[in-house]
Symmetry: C2
Subunit: 273 residues, 2 copies
């Protein structure tokens, strides 16, 4: 595909099971593309980014509903390939990222971000977008994608789009529907813990150790939750911070499990301007 | 970059030290591009495809001569980046190929083809060619690049261009200039050994073991040469063949060292039609 100047092709890659968070990404894409530009959405539950004990087979795939949402939001092209069309049985070339992927979600999901980089690279080659939009909810993924684009000189502008939340604060995720009712009621407290951390920072607590201890404590006290990680990191390099101040794009990132369902969320730590 | 229909952008990636082999690639590119198309040549001695004990620092870099050759052959754009412009100091995303790269040159050059894939991917992202031309002399490289383009869905057509030889049969290579005079006199016997193998096959010898034994014997008897490998493989999968017949694109591939200089060459094994 190719596009005219001022009529950009804007791409929103997804794994389907579209919710209001995706709808918001697509509306952003529609605004960025303008009247003359095009919005392409892909729906592909990419097998290579799931580990052997992860939820690939039970990941929701409500394709008819997804298509309706795309039509309603003015998507110009919906790309929904079969796995066999994406991966040859003897496929042997992959991408790998060796720094940003090591910690956080990468620590408990080895190979996950290599699978993400490989499939996003393939999708970029197929779609050839000028602009691609990713949700900020998957902050580590966004950082890894930005790094891939920088390192491999991909001619794609990456836009990170703010997390959309349920009314109770829970970050929208296709995995929320897999939560038991009790876990669903408790899950908003993940965001409340992040908010409390951000507010503590804003009101003058600049000790990363203290902020993190409070965050871990708040998460650990959520009924039914087990904390996978809670870190305060540099927003681009994802390196753990020792100190924070206004000149560093600090971010608190967490992953919490409710039984087999793993949820992630994050928040910026910013000083009042 | 983007190009109009029937005015393709044709790309010839090189490491410079251009010789008649490269000139032949560029002339092929010029023919394929036509009057309206464009020919882009890159010159970049890519550090990431050299091993720590390889010849990166002594690889020849006669840039002024290279530029003259490009001008003479009607190249439209010469891309000659600095290493710092290609690789950030904290670069962390690379490509890797896990099947075709394992044997042959890959066995003695670990990481080499990952470096090649990474830089060619980067060059493709920067140049955005419709067509790219690679020499058949680096047969394993050509097979790996074709695999990369296939697996990552890159919108680039790969053309393999036949090896150009000196009058005495030696495959043209930037490394030939590094040979001592005696080695230079002996080196054409690499091609003679390949030719003898192809002729033996053509005249009815279909035992891979016998063909390979003869090839190894011929190479081992070249004064000053030590054989790195001599294999008869499937031309696309690079798998060692047990049997050959007319329906398999069989190829004999060899690597021979003269002191610190390592030369490669290959030949198709085809039945008379």
């Amino acid at each position: 595909m190719a596009s005219l100047q001022n009529a950009p092709l804007v791409f929103v890659p997804t794994m389907g099971a579209l919710h209001e968070g995706h709808a918001s990404l697509i509306r952003r894409a529609r605004r960025v593309a303008g009247i003359d530009g095009s919005v392409v959405v892909s729906i592909f539950v990419n097998p290579t980014q799931f580990g052997p004990r992860e939820d690939f087979s039970r990941y929701p795939r409500p394709f008819a509903r997804d298509r309706t949402l795309c039509l309603r939001e003015g998507v110009d092209l919906l790309f929904h390939p079969k796995a066999e069309a994406m991966y040859s049985t003897d496929a042997s070339v992959t991408l790998s990222e060796r720094t940003l992927s090591l910690g956080l979600c990468g620590a408990s999901r080895p190979g996950h971000f290599d699978g993400v980089c490989t499939v996003v690279c393939m999708l970029f080659q197929i779609i050839n977008p000028e602009i691609a939009i990713f949700g900020e909810k998957d902050w580590q993924q966004l950082a890894v994608i930005r790094r891939m684009v920088r390192d491999l000189k991909m001619p794609v502008k990456i836009i990170g789009h703010p997390t959309v939340r349920e009314e109770d604060g829970l970050a929208m995720s296709s995995r929320n529907s897999l939560l038991e009712p009790e876990a669903r009621r408790a899950a908003p407290r993940i965001y409340h813990a992040l908010l409390a951390t951000a507010m503590e920072y804003e009101s003058g607590e600049h000790s990363v150790a203290k902020l993190r201890r409070r965050l871990l404590h708040d998460l650990a006290s959520i009924p039914g939750a087990s904390v996978d990680y809670a870190e305060i990191v540099h927003g681009e390099t994802l390196q753990s911070l020792k100190k924070i101040n206004g000149s560093i794009p600090a971010r608190a990132l967490v992953a919490v499990r409710f039984g087999p369902v793993r949820l992630i969320d994050n928040i910026a730590l910013v000083l009042p301007s």
